[in-house]
Symmetry: C2
């Protein structure tokens, strides 16, 4: 069965689909910022109301943090059920002055929709809503049951979603989770992600003297917390760019020769990748290619650092404390628990005796692998093949969607990661964008996926 | 001649002297912050008006930055002339939340006056105004001529004062410069500073990719500017806490055994010094005592660092750039020009090939030595001896007053650094304070200084 009517409906309503997404993008639902709590709440309400306007049952589930939007359309007693997961919260827009257009005023630029969340993940999540609408409004019964679980805390670690999965397990019964929150390897290259890196994200504070001091009166005899923290952070890598934390690589499953050959054969253009971010050279862990380094190897990055005087001009202060945010990307079979402990112990051993260290664990997520030869994955490949007229590749990806591991552990469900982003979409950066053609193709792919899945799970 | 009438006047007007200082402290004349430009201007006008209210001629000299207040009282044709230098600008009050009272609402706490600028330098500068007032209002002709030069840019490097010295050299003719902007070694221990460290203060920016990146998508193959800057800053010291910049120590005049013996004999309580800043241990350059390290040895401190995400919560960003403010304290015969160049060359050689470095020279000052056996210094010792009833010590000090070198070079004048601060006054820190007893004793000392100087320079 080819879903002709839904596909035609989608083609005829492209402009309306974009306009509705723009309405959602105008709500600055920045989950990490308490000043935006009301906006996050408003985005959830708007989305639930939008489901209802399509005739889909929807509820807003409160949590101890930001709410979850739950919606269902179950026309069958015995068809496969897809649990669509996505998120309506977004990253902060900082640094604001690097945006060419205001981040929450969606703007069309050369066929792209530019706005915070246009790709990650409002745009990709909303494609699933529009795919279902295309069935319903073309009077076509989708050949599957659909449950939507759209959360508001993905960008801050999905702290309350595990509890939601436990509490509402019976209302989340499904055959798989379907997620669009990943990227394609290249423009026009359909891509399914079968592996994700995990995450261990911490904040460290190194405290020296009891107050900020004058660097002229005290400099020379008081160890400076910024100098010391710099040393501790610098020591976390060796000259081969390997992480020096004892035990860091112990649980890393070695790559097989076959895996490395597959990765080397993927259509990945190193020069283009470098050019796009303004660099001549990459810096990878010794012996690994760029694609290996950003997808199947673990890493450590300082995500933020601050301390002392950072305003305009000169202030001769010897600061009382220095701070950093540090995160590690994990690969199978590392776990955040083990890596948190190893990181903290390593740092504690290096704290100068004039200082005290505080470590806050901000959020963690398990790395994930989903075997690509399953029917739920093959159906996704077939749907993408049809839309893009090109063979889909299966890849492992460097990002983290911690909730994917939670679906596996708490509901026993594998996730199909069918993403339509591009590296150049600048998610988490100024001028985030999403191609309007990919938005349309994403909706088309999802319309194809329902019958492809139904066929294989019949 | 003992200045009995002025001393009595000062004792009888203590409360009024404090009240007037409080009025000046309420003006938030933060010179580094463009938002406070109007307040800086207002402080200058207030001070000039105050001079005039005492019958002292005063002018406000505009500069290309903040203005200078110039005032004169020259009752003699052939008496020695004192050029009093001070500053009415103050450091920023950050971090604001660590103040027990608002920084610009002077508060009395246990005999101290707590406010930004109470010690550095409004309080100490204003003692000179009140000393002259004590002569004038007690109908006593001071036995010296007095010129006041009070600037508004000391905390940002006195950028425009050298030009003022050149332009108005004939109106600044004097026998010495008298400055109260330094500290005493201990409560009740009169102290004259005969040496100051110089300064070379820079801001560095290390730029990597052309925009902030997602640490999941790029982490592992893009060298992180914060990681790299941390390494570069860490490498600036060796394990003996010596600065590793090639040539850094080349021009340092070695300490003689006699100098080290003198320093070792000074009344300096290491345990108290450490206790007061909440530390158990100091960290000095190998082989040097605390007092040597903070006064006669050169240093390097990171004064501020920032980059990436520094807000609440977690943002998985791989930042495009990292920034730091770094300053070095210099000792004779180092010069800021040579040290600026050495620092910049050293850093440039260590920049990773995926990054570019920008270095901004924010401000510099020459180190200073004034021989203590001169009449102008001995007169100051005698004035302090009388007020404190204890023998004055002569010390070298770790701070920088770059303008002191300018007075030497441009006007050929040595400076007498007669300070009444204490380390515990927390200048440049939250809860800056100045003891009301020291404010009174400072005024008394200055009243004594005029005749002691006149006697020796007769």
């Amino acid at each position: 069965m080819s879903p002709t009517a839904p596909l035609r409906y989608a083609q005829q309503h492209t402009d309306a689909f974009v306009g509705e997404l723009e309405t959602l993008l105008r709500i600055p639902s920045v989950s990490t910022d308490p000043d935006h709590a009301h906006d996050v709440q408003q985005a959830a309400q708007w989305l639930a109301e939008h489901f209802r306007s399509l005739g889909v049952d929807a509820e807003v589930w409160p949590t101890d943090g930001h709410p979850v939007v739950y919606a269902t359309h179950h026309p069958h007693d015995d068809a496969p059920t897809i649990l669509v997961y996505g998120h309506y919260d977004v990253q902060p827009p900082d640094p604001l002055d690097e945006w060419d257009h205001p981040p929450f005023e969606p703007t069309h630029v050369n066929g792209d929709l530019v706005a915070r969340g246009s790709c990650d993940d409002k745009g990709q999540m909303f494609m699933h809503v529009k795919a279902l609408e295309s069935y319903l409004k073309s009077d076509t019964t989708p050949p599957v049951n659909l449950t939507f679980l759209i959360e508001g805390e993905e960008e801050i670690g999905s702290a309350h979603l595990p509890q939601v999965l436990d509490t509402y397990a019976d209302r989340l019964d499904a055959d798989l989770v379907l997620i669009s929150d990943t990227s394609m390897l290249a423009e026009g290259q359909p891509t399914i992600t079968y592996g994700l890196r995990g995450l261990a994200y911490l904040e460290v504070t190194l405290q020296g003297p009891n107050r900020d001091l004058h660097s002229g009166l005290y400099g020379g005899a008081v160890e400076n917390p910024i100098n010391a923290l710099s040393q501790m952070l610098a020591d976390l890598h060796d000259d081969d760019h390997r992480v020096t934390i004892p035990g860091f690589y112990d649980d890393v499953r070695p790559l097989t020769d076959e895996e490395r050959t597959t990765i080397a054969g993927l259509p990945f253009d190193e020069d283009h990748w470098l050019d796009e971010i303004g660099l001549d050279t990459a810096r990878t862990e010794n012996g690994y290619s760029i694609l290996e380094a950003i997808s199947v190897r673990p890493t450590l990055d300082v995500n933020g650092i601050w301390g002392g005087y950072t305003g305009e001009g000169a202030k001769t202060v010897l600061p009382a404390a220095a701070h950093a945010k540090v995160s590690m990307r994990l690969v199978p079979n590392q776990t955040p628990e083990v890596i948190y402990d190893a990181f903290e112990q390593c740092l504690r051993e290096r704290v100068p005796d004039t200082m005290t260290l505080t470590v806050k664990r901000l959020h963690g997520g398990q790395p994930v692998l989903v075997e690509p030869d399953q029917p739920i994955m093959q159906a996704a490949g077939a749907a993408m093949d049809q839309t893009f007229d090109r063979e889909t590749v299966f890849v492992r990806h460097g990002g983290s969607i911690p909730i994917v591991a939670e679906f596996q552990q708490r509901l026993g469900l594998d996730s199909v990661l069918m993403g339509f982003g591009l590296e150049s979409d600048a998610i988490h950066s100024p001028n985030e964008k999403f191609g309007l053609d990919r938005y349309a193709k994403g909706i088309e792919t999802i319309i194809h996926y329902y019958p492809e899945l139904a066929k294989r799970l019949a």
